[in-house]
Every structure is written in C-alpha cells, then in structure tokens.
Symmetry: C2
C-alpha cells in the first residue's frame, strides 16, 4: 500500500472505526453553545470525537493571554493529551455552537489499535500530519511577520468548521477580530489593520463577526509576497 493511498484512506476515518468495537465504551453527549468541554487542569482521560457542531481549543499563557490553537468540526477529534499520557489537557476546549460529542477513553482506544490495522494506520497518519502542521506553525511564529501569519491563519481556518463554502469557490469565515488576533499572535488592532489592507486589495470582505474571501486568491497573493521576500542566497 502506498503512502498516497493511506492518505486518501484517512478521509474515511469515521466514528464507526472506533464505535463498532465492543470493548470501547464511548459516551455521547449534547453540549450547549459556549459550554466548556474541558479546562486546562482537567485530567486527560478521554479523546473527543465531534459528531456535529464546532469546538475551539485555546491555550493560556502565564500572563493570562490566550491563543486560539485549533478549530474543530464534524468528523474531527481532539484531546490529544489523553493519547500522550499527559496528566491534564493543558488547554481549554469550548463548544462554539451546540455540538454532539463522543468521549472515548484513551486507554480503551489504545487497546483497540492493535486489533484494527486500518484504524492504527489512519490514526498514525493523522497524528503525523498534525505534528507537521504544528511544527510549521511554530516555525511561522519565528519567520513570518504579522501580516504573513494573518494570511496563513485565514487560509488554515478556511479549511475548518468555522468556514462555510460558497458556490463561487469563496468561503465565509465566522470569527471575530479578537479571536483571529488570538490565533495570529498579535494585538487586535494590528490584525484589524491587516484585514483593512487585504480589503483594500479586494482580497477580503468584512462583515459582522465574519470575513469572506477566496482562498485561491489569498494563496496566490501569499506566494507572490513569499517570492518577493526570497533572498538570492539561502543559507
């Protein structure tokens, strides 16, 4: 089996793979809007799978500042700390809209892995992809200026549950300037200024708690900027 076909297989990773197994006792819950799924200090015992709805995960710094780390939607799972054997989640998960979640005990899931080759492959592939993405994000925090990070964050979130696709290839992203700033790692004012500049280039439209744009146009703009910054000699 090629790596490419395994990558395609990931798309099929659904609740069924876990829940079909009788030795996994997953519990289903209906979570209201703005409800907290777990806090930073909650013992990390469960992995969560989203049947419907949307969950955002925040990290908090010592000075109380907040980072919006991830936006998850239907078919996604979160609460990786439980798989890592870490004592507490170390982040806060909040349901942004009413959501149906499945809590899967991590120790039971790890037991099942050995009996379900496909689940093992898919889980390893997904974790590896997320790890690559997290490493890229850490690097971007070092390399990219605030506007580059803003564009990258818009593109990243355009592939999440916070985005609704339009027929013309555009997306509507439901997010406030403050939340976007918490993902980019910049002051709200800086992010608002960056959004204004993108609007002036006709790359973005702003509305109340929503932004609409064409990811392809933004991607092209981003590539042009990157090429312009590319030095002749790379170390």
């Amino acid at each position: 089996m090629s790596v490419a076909s395994i990558a395609a297989e990931r798309e099929e990773f659904v609740a069924g793979a876990i829940f079909a197994n009788p030795s996994v006792v997953a519990s289903r819950s209906d979570v209201g809007e703005s409800m907290i799924v777990y806090e930073s200090q909650t013992p990390a015992g469960n992995l969560y799978f989203i049947e419907t709805g949307q969950v955002r995960v925040y990290q908090t710094g010592n000075d109380g500042s907040t980072r919006l780390a991830n936006i998850f939607g239907a078919g996604d799972w979160f609460g990786i700390a439980a798989l890592a054997g870490i004592a507490t989640y170390g982040s806060r998960a909040i349901a942004v809209s009413r959501s149906v979640l499945w809590a899967v005990p991590a120790d039971q899931l790890l037991q099942v892995l050995g009996r379900d080759p496909k689940l093992a492959r898919v889980l390893v592939g997904q974790l590896a992809s997320r790890l690559e993405e997290a490493n890229d994000m850490a690097a971007r925090m070092m390399f990219d200026d605030c506007n580059q990070r803003l564009v990258q964050t818009l593109l990243r979130f355009s592939r999440t549950a916070a985005a609704t696709s339009l027929e013309d290839g555009g997306v509507v992203l439901r997010i406030t300037h403050q939340q976007l700033a918490q993902a980019v790692g910049a002051a709200r004012e800086t992010v608002s200024l960056g959004l204004t500049q993108l609007r002036q280039r006709n790359l973005l439209r702003t509305g109340r708690n929503r932004l609409s744009f064409h990811p392809s146009a933004l991607e092209q703009f981003c590539c042009q900027q990157a090429t312009a910054n590319q030095p002749v000699k790379v170390n």
Copy 2:
C-alpha cells in the same frame, strides 16, 4: 492497560520492534559528521531511526532564516513527514556527529503497525506526545518573551542527545549561541545577553560551544518568574 503503563512502555520502543519484522526492509548507513540526511525538497519516503550519534533538524523561512526545530539522539526517530503522506520533508536533517542511521520505508512501517499492537500503541503515544510539545512550543512563541523562551529551550535541549549528564545532577549542553538563537527565535546578540544574565545569577556557566547548568535550578527559576507574572484574574 492504563495510559500510565503505556507511557512507561514507550521507553522500550527500540529498533527491534520494527526490524524484527521480515516485511520491513530497513537499510543501515554510517553518516559522517556534518553530512545532510535529507533536504527540505527531498521526497519523504523514509522514517529514520538513530542507532548512535546525533541529528539536528532545521526549518528554513522564505527570507532564508533558520530555525533549529529538534535535536535527536540514539533511540530517537525522525522524518515524520513520511508518515504524514507529505511529498517532501520540508526541513533539513544534519548529522552533528558521526551517526548510524536506519532508513525505514514509511509505507512498510504503516503496514506492519496493524500486525504489531504494541508498536501501534507506542507509535501513537510518541506522536501524540510530540504533537503536544509542538503545540506548546507554538504557544510559547506567542506568550513568552525571549528570556523565558531561552530558559525553556535550555531545559528542552537538556533532555536531548546534545546534553551530557554530570554526576551532580547538572548537564553540559553542546551548542553555540548562534544555534541556540535559531531555536529560541531571536538574534544571537539577544540570546548572548540572556545567557550573561543567567550566568550573573549563577544559574549557568558558559564555555567554548558549551553551556553547563542544573536543570532543576533553572526550572525553579522559571517557575518563580512565571508566578511573578501571573495576573490575579485569568481570562
């Protein structure tokens, strides 16, 4: 089986788990000092396992600046892009000292996972741990000032192959100020100044391309700083 016992089991993750399997054709190579294992654009087909030696992984920004992302040693594996089904490694891996490496084709490893429950559990646990660490690092790039990141980086590298443990609980870390700056995400001068301040507090000694310190003392200093910065009200 508890998550805690699985975490302990990870320590046993050795080459044997992979290489005992006849359907994995791993190739062993002797890599000289400063040799490149892979470049950013190298097709990501293999996962690498370090038998002996040390490998450092660097990411490069569009402007040619470099981030020292990870330091790996004997018993570690790297080249995660291959497991993620990503086309190229997207980073550069360099052997810092003469090293013996095993190249394991990722597609073969993924196939074997399903037949080796323990390997699957260990690999998922390790990937989950690394993902949590990468997320924490991305958050630190946002939350922490340069000196806090410097201390965290020293602590992180004190647990890698770049560190040698001393009998009194201290460590000697072989790294240049420039390399440390590439890991912290700051100018070399800023990092050198931070190191001088730590030396003045008797928390660190500096030598030629080496730093010695007691991780426990540095950790305590770090906690004190964090407590001092903690606001009364957390959002």
